[in-house]
Point group: C2
Chain length 336, copies 2
């Protein structure tokens, strides 16, 4: 590996001068030229580790997701990675597999790698390690849900509003018996999405508890949830609150030989590959994946550069209701 020392020798200047040149300081024209020539000739590329030793920056960001096979998380990670790479930061990835001990261990691990920042997905409960990370000067961005009792930068979407809107639209189309496959309401996302649904329903006077079934965000849960809801009398529309549950729900509907939207209307959450293969294409709540990745990157790099001193930024992005053909218009008794 070519070092600054060799460049200095080749150019006939001191290593300090080469270092200054590399860091954009102004120096004598002639020296700049000689140094650049030496760099080109030797193919000098710099040693980011040595740089980090002095500046105490590793130029890397740790990212901790629950599961690497969750397409929502990896889509955001993909966007984030590209943002970071453009800014010369690398992304160290870990998963924690729904395991709190593992979550803690991986956070410790990331700390030991001296990452400059950590992006953590779906972490809701404070852990002592978080304070240790902050004390060590590591910036933290929470994604998709805030961390209770730990103020930090946060990027999430307005889940409540998303659900609220879904009901609004379905209602406008004449639906009143709308079933929902909700997620764990002890967790942030599950609670927000269900509350938005429930409040919107109540406002219209069409809420009823037996329109709600619970799931755990897997396709099996969606499958069973849809089966259960479709057993009930008169349900005309179904709202499934995440991607995998939606896929399961659609499968169940097809197996029951029901047609979408003729027999049952459906609105899903998240717009990924498989949302489009289903015929008709599904009406879904679309999250701004690309934008989330970039916002996360921006927030964390800004913090590292000291731009966000002494304040925390919480970004709540709007979702987009992508309206397609999986919902049918219903004639009401008097309306229309």
């Amino acid at each position: 590996m070519v070092t600054i020392k060799e460049v200095a020798k080749e150019a006939g200047v001191s290593i300090g001068t080469v270092s200054r040149y590399l860091n954009g300081y102004q120096l004598k024209q002639n020296n700049m030229k000689k140094i650049q020539q030496a760099i080109d000739k030797l193919g000098y590329e710099g040693n980011i580790i040595a740089k980090g030793l002095k500046s105490n920056r590793s130029m890397s960001i740790g990212v901790l997701v629950n599961s690497l096979t969750d397409v929502f998380a990896t889509s955001i990670v993909s966007s984030l990675e590209n943002y970071l790479e453009e800014n010369n930061y690398s992304l160290i990835l870990c998963d924690y597999q729904n395991d709190n001990q593992r979550l803690e261990r991986k956070l410790e691990f990331l700390k030991s790698r001296l990452v400059d920042g950590i992006v953590v997905f779906h972490m809701e409960n404070n852990l002592p390690i978080l304070k240790k990370l902050r004390d060590a000067g590591i910036f933290i961005v929470a994604v998709d849900s805030p961390i209770k009792g730990f103020k930090t930068d946060t990027v999430l979407v307005d889940n409540y509003q998303a659900s609220y809107q879904v009901v609004d639209q379905l209602y406008k189309m004449g639906h009143e018996k709308i079933g929902v496959i909700a997620g764990d309401t002890n967790r942030y996302i599950g609670a927000e999405r269900l509350n938005g649904f429930a409040d919107s329903m109540k406002e219209k006077g069409i809420y009823s508890e037996d329109l709600v079934v619970m799931g755990d965000y897997t396709k099996e849960a969606g499958y069973k949830g849809a089966q259960e809801l479709l057993k009930k009398e008169g349900i005309t529309a179904l709202y499934s609150t995440n991607y995998y549950m939606t896929l399961g729900a659609v499968q169940a509907i097809f197996e029951m030989k029901k047609k979408i939207p003729e027999d049952i209307s459906i609105v899903g959450f998240d717009h990924f590959e498989l949302s489009d293969i289903i015929q008709p294409k599904l009406t879904v709540v679309e999250q701004p994946i690309q934008q989330m990745g970039e916002m996360i990157g921006e927030l964390i790099l800004d913090s590292i550069k000291g731009k966000n001193k002494d304040r925390h930024t919480s970004v709540e992005l709007a979702t987009n209701l992508l309206w397609r053909d999986s919902v049918k218009k219903i004639k009401k008794g008097l309306a229309n």
Copy 2:
């Protein structure tokens, strides 16, 4: 951050002694005790960057996948990440989005981060940067396909045999008109999987070109491929050569109101979440994901530790044909 210097002072020994202690050298009982006490008291954790400066090791591995939303790749990455983390290596992740320029740029980027090794998925064509990486002492493991003209450690599965076996089994069950949705045969995986199919068919005297349709590994391709194949007369079974195409194919079959396996038998490739939600559960070629991740980790760490000196290891793992209910037995004219 607590440094070795502070520990040395606290323990009343020199920094060299502390360093030796940390690296497992034997020293006077009493000193070991004092140092350990100092470490505990101060909460010393070590600085991996400083260590790397001397040893020229970054303790990180770069991983380059085509797309972060490809569940096959991310499943392996997940397994690999856990292996690496156990061995105190971090995983720096990048994607290249089917873009050769980007692939090259990311490899350069990983080089600039001084990774100790690089794991690259689905890279088939040699690039000059590869030699540069090797010359820089970076070990490379190719995953899922070999790199033409560049010898390096490789981890892949026996795709040819997998396909061969699928035909064998289908044939045993009485199927003779077996359609295949193949992938790009200019690429390694596509060629292997189709060749295994074709050879097995030919051996049984049941091959015909019009049983083959091409796809690009997306669900749309599977969807269209299945539609096309099912238009043909007499096809009783369908073999789809990757996960996403299988999902598309199943969707097409359902939409055509065909039943699996009564109307059409199907064998897919890859066993992930959605392979199980479909009823009946799909018969699929299952790749040893977990094992692949571990093999990759083992190979690369062994190389780094100098265990694989002057030779390249190519691991070809067997797949498993997971036999379930999406294939029906057919009575042949005379047989049975």
